[in-house]
Symmetry: C2
Subunit: 327 residues, 2 copies
C-alpha cells in the first residue's frame, strides 16, 4: 500500500527579461528566453499526499477546495506528469501562498514549482533540476524559473527537451532587493495565460522577439558584473516592451493603473537624482522596484508615501525550490 | 515702399493616425503618412506685418516677445520661405492661441499653418493649398495638416514636393467631437521635435512604420463610412503604438500621467457599456476623447468628474486655414 506525504516550498520570481507569448501553447515553449530573480520570503508551500486510498485528484488552496478552473488546470498537469513518468494513482494537494495571488506576482510560478517537486518526491522520483524545471513549465511557463535558485535564465528552446531554466548566479551573488508596490489585489481581468495567446496579435510582438537576445545578453551581463545602471536600462526597456505589446494586441490589454504610472515616474525621478533604482511590471498593475540592499529601506518608505500604494513587500534573491518534509 | 499687414487663422489638429519620426529631419518628411481632424473653436491667430521699415524678424506671442527658441525657430522658417519664394525683407509677427500651448494640443501646427498663410499673403503670393501645406510643414511637420479643412491626410512622400496634406472629408461629413481632457498645462519635458529624433532608437519603431499603411487605410475607411467602431479600434491602436515607441526609445519617453490612464480606462469602460467613444493621446498627457455630437454633452460631464482632469475643451471638425483681414 502506497502512502507518502511530501511538502515542498518554492518562491515566486520576478522576470527581469519577460516571457510573453508562446511558440507552443500547450507545452509553454516561449517565443523568447527570459531571466528572473527568485523572491526570498515569498513562497508557496505545497503538500502532496500520494496514497492508494485516494481515488481522484483533489486540490485545496489555503484550506479551501480550489475553484473548478484551478482544479482542472492541476488535473491536466498531473495527467501529463503521470503519462511522462508512468505513474498511476491520484493525489491530494494542499497549497498555500503567503502573498496576494493573481496580483501580478506570479503565484502560478511558485505553485507549480512547489507542486512539481512535491509530487515527484511523493512518487519516489528524484529528478534533475533541469527535468524538474521542464515538468514545472508544463503547469505554468514561468514556473520553470522557480525551480533553480537565485538569478535564473529560462532557455526558450524549441521543444519539451530543450526548454528549461538554470541558475546563472546564486542568491548571494548580488544583494538586489525587489520592493513590490501593491496597488491592486483584485483578480486580473485577463489572466497571463489568455494574454500569452494574444501576444501574436500585436503588430509589435515580432520586433520585441527579434530584439530579445540583445536584451537577454545585456541583462545577463549586468547581473554577472553587478552593473546596476545597465540593469536599470534593460529591465525598464524590457518591461515597457512587454506592455507595449500588451496594449497593442487585439483586444488590447492595459494592465497599468494610475498608481502604476505614479510609481514608474517616481522611480525615474529618484534615479535621475542619483539613487540606483529601477522598475519592472509583470502582467498586472503592481510595480516591482529593484534596488540594492543599502537603499531598500529608504525606497520602501518613499514607495509607501505614493497615493494608491496599498502595501509594499520586500524580497531579496530567493533560493531554489526545496523539500520541507520527507516521511 | 512695401507695407502690408495680413492676419490668418488656423486650427490645431488631432492626429487619428499619428506622425512620429522623420525620414528627413530638416524638411520634416515623416516616416509614415498620417490622418487628422482640425479642431473647430481652437485656433491660432497670426498677424504678419511686411514693411520695408522692418529690419529684422520679430516674433511676439500673446503680446510678449517670444522666447529665444521660438524666435530662432521662426527665423529659420522665414529664411527658408524667403529662399524658396525669392523674397527679401523682414516680418513682424504677432501670434496668439486661444488654448494652452505645449500641452499635447499641437500649438505649433496651428501656429505655423497660420504663419504660412499670413506671410505668403503679406508678400502678395497666392499659393495652392498643397504648396501652403508644404511650406507649413517646414515650420512644424503636423502644421501641414492644419492648412486644409475637416478630415485631412498627410501623404508622407519622400521629398519636399511629394510631402503635403489634403482634405479627405469636409468638416460637415461627420459630426465627430473631440472632448479634450486637460490633465497638464505645463510645458512638456521633451518636445515633440526632440521626440521625433528619438523615435528610431526604439526597437519597435520599424514595426510601427511597417503597419502604418494598414492603419491608415482602416482609418480613412472608417471616416468615409462613418464607422465609429472601426475608428475606435484603429485610433486607440495607433495612439498606443506611438506611445509604445515613445516608452521604448532611448532615452524612453513616458508622457502619460496617472490621470491619463484613468481617462483611457474610463473611455474603454464607457465603450464596453455601449457608448461610441474612444481615446487618442498626442505627445503629452492630455487625452482626446472622440465621440459623436449626440453623446458629447454626457461624455464632457463624465470626464470632468475624473480626478486629475483640470478642464475639458470641446471641438468639432474645424475648417481650413483662412485669411481674416486683407489690407
Amino acid at each position: 500500500m502506497i502512502n507518502k506525504i511530501t511538502t515542498a516550498i518554492a518562491h515566486p520570481n520576478i522576470a527581469l527579461i519577460k516571457y510573453w507569448g508562446d511558440l507552443d501553447v500547450d507545452l509553454h515553449i516561449p517565443v523568447n528566453s527570459s531571466i528572473s530573480m527568485n523572491l526570498d520570503g515569498l513562497f508557496t508551500r505545497t503538500t502532496v499526499t500520494y496514497s492508494s486510498e485516494i481515488t481522484r485528484d483533489d486540490l485545496f488552496i489555503d484550506g479551501q477546495p480550489a475553484s473548478e478552473i484551478a482544479q482542472k488546470r492541476v488535473e491536466y498537469f498531473l495527467d501529463r506528469f503521470r503519462k511522462i513518468y508512468k505513474i498511476s494513482g491520484y493525489f491530494q494537494i494542499e497549497s498555500a501562498s503567503n502573498f496576494p495571488i493573481n496580483a501580478g506576482i506570479a503565484s502560478s510560478a511558485s505553485a507549480f514549482a512547489a507542486l512539481s517537486l512535491a509530487v515527484t518526491d511523493a512518487c519516489g522520483l528524484s529528478l534533475s533540476e533541469a527535468d524538474l524545471s521542464r515538468l514545472a513549465r508544463l503547469g505554468s511557463g514561468s514556473a520553470c524559473r522557480s525551480i533553480p535558485g537565485g538569478f535564473v535564465e529560462w532557455q526558450a528552446g524549441y521543444n519539451h527537451e530543450s526548454s528549461f531554466a538554470f541558475l546563472i548566479a546564486s542568491p548571494s551573488h548580488w544583494c538586489l532587493v525587489d520592493c513590490i508596490a501593491i496597488v491592486d489585489t483584485e483578480e486580473k481581468e485577463t489572466s497571463s495565460r489568455q494574454g500569452h495567446e494574444l501576444a501574436q496579435s500585436s503588430p509589435l510582438q515580432q520586433a520585441r522577439i527579434m530584439n530579445a537576445d540583445q536584451r537577454l545578453d545585456e541583462c545577463r551581463f549586468a547581473i554577472m558584473s553587478r552593473d546596476f545602471d545597465l540593469l536599470a536600462r534593460v529591465v525598464e526597456l524590457d518591461s515597457n516592451m512587454m506592455h507595449a505589446v500588451m496594449m497593442t494586441s487585439n483586444p488590447p490589454l492595459l494592465y497599468w493603473k494610475p498608481a502604476t504610472i505614479s510609481i514608474m515616474k517616481s522611480v525615474i525621478e529618484w534615479r535621475m537624482a542619483g539613487i540606483p533604482v529601477c522598475y519592472t511590471v509583470d502582467a498586472g498593475a503592481n510595480v516591482h522596484v529593484l534596488c540594492e540592499a543599502e537603499n531598500s529601506g529608504a525606497i520602501l518608505n518613499q514607495l509607501k508615501e505614493i497615493p494608491g500604494v496599498l502595501l509594499v513587500l520586500e524580497a531579496g534573491p530567493g533560493g531554489a525550490a526545496t523539500l520541507e518534509i520527507r516521511n
